[in-house]
Homo-oligomer: 101 residues x 2
Amino acid sequence: MDKPTYHIFVCAGFRAGGNPQGNCGKKNSAAFLPYIENEILDRGMDAQVTAAGCMKACDYGPVMVVYPQGLWYGRVDGEAAIDAILDALEDGGAAAAHLID
Amino acid sequence: MDKPTYHIFVCAGFRAGGNPQGNCGKKNSAAFLPYIENEILDRGMDAQVTAAGCMKACDYGPVMVVYPQGLWYGRVDGEAAIDAILDALEDGGAAAAHLID
């Protein structure tokens, strides 16, 4: 099975047996999933997007983590942030303004 | 913020706006989460466990992916499989019997 070059986990604040909570869920981060999927297709990136449960970085929510690069991003609050993150991946770098230190 | 040495994503088959589906959800993979959490504590591993939505490897479900190592595991169907995978991580290797090629 082919593994993606970029595996993007979008915190959707899932809780076991409950509704989305935390900053990511409250800010409705799951609503970004279609935009990210479309951008990946438009850009022809070898990337997979997965919605995730709480990643324990709620203070920085909405949170996105890109593996295996190990890039943790916070305050991913709209299309401009997503564009910056995907631009940086394509350039082989990181979107410094959104990195979680 | 400290990042985990091992970030273990357990497919729980979440679907946006719906109930868990796919092989992982049907096999109730989310029920393994407490066992994995306890094992990590017992072993003193620097690991984080995150429940995930569908990772598009349903044929191999239940699926677990370990990043940044990039290890994709399938048929993680009980405590013995989880033990083998955690043993291998501690040894710096991979549990070959469960790897998704």
